[in-house]
C-alpha cells in the first residue's frame, strides 16, 4: 500500500514501472507525518497556522519556529522536516532580496512561488541529491492582492483559497471547505484556524503549541505574528467549541 519500491526507490533518478519516482513520494510521506499546518486566504489577507507538538518540557516556549518571514509582504509556514523547510525558506528569502535589488520593487507572489518551486524541483533531478522533505505554505500580499501558495517536495506550486498539510490534513480540509473564506476577514479567520487545529489535534494527551501568523489590511500588508490577545481569545473560543461538541456526544 505504501508503495514498496523494491529496487526502484533507491534514487531520485529512477522511475518505477508505473511511472512514479519513489523518492519524491517518500519525501511527501515526511510531510504527511508531520504536525498539521494550514493556510486560509480571506477577503483582506492570508492566515497561516501551525500546530507544534511540544516534544520536551525542557524546550523554551516558542522555540522550533515553523513560520518564517521572507520579505515584508511574504511569510511561509513549513510542514515536514523542519531543517529542510528552513533551507527552502532561505532560498525564498534570497530570491525576494535579489529581485528587490535588481527590479526595485517587492517580488510578486506568483513569481516567487514559481522560483521556489523550480528550486525544490531541482532536487528531484539528480542522483546525488534528495528531495526536500518539506511543504511550504506561502502567504503573500502584493499589488495583485492577497494569495496563498503551497510548494511541495515535488516542486509543484499551486495557489489555494485554503489548504492544510500534515497529519490532520484530511479532517482540516473538510473543515476548511465549510468556511466562506471570500466573505471572511483575517481576524475572523484566525479564530477559525485555531478552532480547526484544536479540533483535528490527535487526542493522545501530547501538549501542543500554536504558531499563527497573518498578513492583511489590518497589519498594513506586512507579515506578522498574530497579536497575543487575539491568539488567547481564539484559543478560548476553540476550547469552548470543543467542549460544546463533547457535550453533544
Amino acid at each position: 500500500m505504501s508503495g514498496i519500491g523494491t529496487g526502484y526507490d533507491l534514487s531520485a533518478t529512477t522511475y518505477s514501472p508505473d511511472g512514479k519516482i519513489f523518492q519524491t513520494e517518500y519525501a511527501q510521506k515526511a510531510v504527511d507525518n508531520s504536525s498539521t499546518v494550514l493556510g486560509l486566504r480571506c477577503k483582506d489577507g492570508v492566515v497561516l497556522a501551525c500546530e507544534k507538538l511540544v516534544l520536551s518540557k525542557l524546550l523554551v516556549e516558542g522555540s522550533n519556529r515553523r513560520i518564517h518571514n521572507i520579505d515584508r509582504h511574504v511569510g511561509v509556514a513549513v510542514a515536514g522536516l523542519a531543517p529542510d523547510g528552513r533551507m527552502v525558506a532561505n532560498r525564498a528569502w534570497d530570491e525576494a532580496a535579489s529581485y528587490k535589488r535588481v527590479y526595485g520593487e517587492p517580488i510578486p507572489g506568483h513569481v516567487l512561488c514559481e522560483r521556489v518551486g523550480s528550486y525544490a524541483h531541482m532536487f528531484n533531478l539528480y542522483w546525488s541529491l534528495r528531495p526536500y522533505g518539506a511543504t511550504v505554505l506561502m502567504a503573500v500580499y502584493d499589488k495583485n492582492g492577497p494569495a496563498l501558495y503551497a510548494i511541495d517536495p515535488s516542486g509543484s506550486s499551486l495557489r489555494y483559497f485554503g489548504t492544510a498539510v500534515g497529519k490532520g490534513r484530511q479532517a482540516a480540509k473538510n473543515e476548511i471547505e465549510k468556511l466562506k473564506l471570500s466573505e471572511m476577514t483575517c481576524r475572523e479567520a484566525v479564530i477559525e484556524a485555531v478552532k480547526i487545529l484544536h479540533k483535528v489535534h490527535d487526542e493522545d494527551g501530547k501538549k501542543f503549541e500554536l504558531e499563527v501568523s497573518w498578513i492583511c489590511d489590518e497589519t498594513n500588508k506586512q507579515h506578522q505574528r498574530v497579536p497575543p490577545e487575539l491568539l488567547t481569545e481564539a484559543e478560548r473560543q476553540a476550547k469552548a467549541a470543543l467542549e460544546d461538541s463533547d457535550m453533544d456526544d
Binding site: 535588481v102 527590479y103 526595485g104 520593487e105 510578486p108 506568483h110 513569481v111 514559481e114 499589488k143
Partner: protein, 242 residues
C-alpha cells in the same frame, strides 16, 4: 600619438547633445526629445530618434553619449523581456527605471548616460523617473535633461501644473523642447513626442519646419537656395540663404 589619448579623438565620439522632456498628467505621461546628433560642429543626424522603447508602455529618453545610452537601452529591454516571460505581466515603470539606474551606478566609471525613464503601468499610472549620470534614481512629476535643458528650467518651473489634460501636457513638452532647441546649438531639428495612457503609446512627429518658432527666430527656409525674396535681403539680419 596614442589614439585613445588624443583629445580630438574623444571629441569625435557622437554625442546626443540633446533636450529631453517628460511630464505626468491626469491619466498618463508625455515624453519628448529633439532630433540633433552632432560631432562638434557637424550635425551627423538632424532627425534622429532619441526615444528608445523598453516595453510596450515604457520608453527611455536618451542624452549624453549616444553609444552608451544605446547599449543601456538594449540591455534593459533584454532584461525586461525576460521578466515579462517569467511573470506573465507587463513590467512596472519602476522596474525599468531601477534596471537603468543599476547599470549607470555599477558602471559609473565608464558610462556617460543621462536618461529619463517614462511609462505607464496599471498600478501607478503615468510615471516619470530621472536617471542621471552616476546612478541616481528619482521619481518626479516632470523631468528634463540634456544640454538644452539648462535653458528651459524657468519655463518648466513656471508653466508646469499638476493634473493637466493630455493636450496641455503635450503642448508643455512641445513648447519646452522648441525653446531649448532655439537656444542650444546641440539641440534642434525635429521633435518627437510620445503620449502614454492606458490605451497604449501615441506617437507624434513634428517636422523641422513645423517646430514652434519664437520672436527673432530665423524662419525655416521655404524656398530653394539661390532665390532671394525682397524680404530676405532687407529685414532679416541680412543673412543670405544659399
Amino acid at each position: 600619438m596614442d589614439v585613445s589619448r588624443d583629445a580630438s579623438h574623444a571629441e569625435a565620439a557622437p554625442s546626443t547633445g540633446t533636450t529631453i522632456v517628460a511630464c505626468t498628467y491626469k491619466g498618463g505621461a508625455v515624453l519628448g526629445a529633439d532630433g540633433r546628433v552632432s560631432i562638434g560642429n557637424y550635425i551627423m543626424n538632424r532627425a534622429s530618434n532619441k526615444i528608445a522603447p523598453l516595453s510596450e508602455y515604457i520608453f527611455l529618453c536618451r542624452s549624453g553619449s549616444a553609444p552608451d545610452t544605446q547599449i543601456i537601452s538594449d540591455n534593459v529591454r533584454h532584461y525586461l523581456n525576460h521578466m515579462i516571460a517569467e511573470s506573465g505581466e507587463e513590467p512596472s515603470v519602476e522596474m525599468a527605471a531601477n534596471l537603468v539606474r543599476l547599470i549607470n551606478y555599477n558602471n559609473k566609471d565608464h558610462l556617460v548616460g543621462a536618461m529619463l525613464v517614462v511609462g505607464w503601468d496599471k498600478h501607478g499610472g503615468g510615471q516619470v523617473f530621472g536617471a542621471p549620470i552616476g546612478g541616481t534614481l528619482v521619481k518626479e512629476k516632470w523631468a528634463i535633461d540634456g544640454s538644452g535643458s539648462t535653458y528651459i528650467w524657468g519655463y518648466c518651473d513656471s508653466e508646469f501644473k499638476e493634473g493637466m489634460t493630455r493636450e496641455e501636457a503635450e503642448n508643455w513638452v512641445k513648447e519646452a523642447l522648441a525653446l531649448a532647441m532655439t537656444r542650444d546649438a546641440s539641440s534642434g531639428g525635429t521633435i518627437r513626442i510620445i503620449t502614454l495612457d492606458g490605451t497604449g503609446a501615441h506617437h507624434t512627429y513634428v517636422r523641422g519646419d513645423q517646430v514652434p518658432q519664437f520672436v527673432d527666430d530665423m524662419p525655416f527656409p521655404t524656398h530653394a537656395p539661390g532665390v532671394l525674396s525682397a524680404a530676405a535681403s532687407v529685414g532679416e539680419g541680412g543673412m543670405v540663404i544659399g
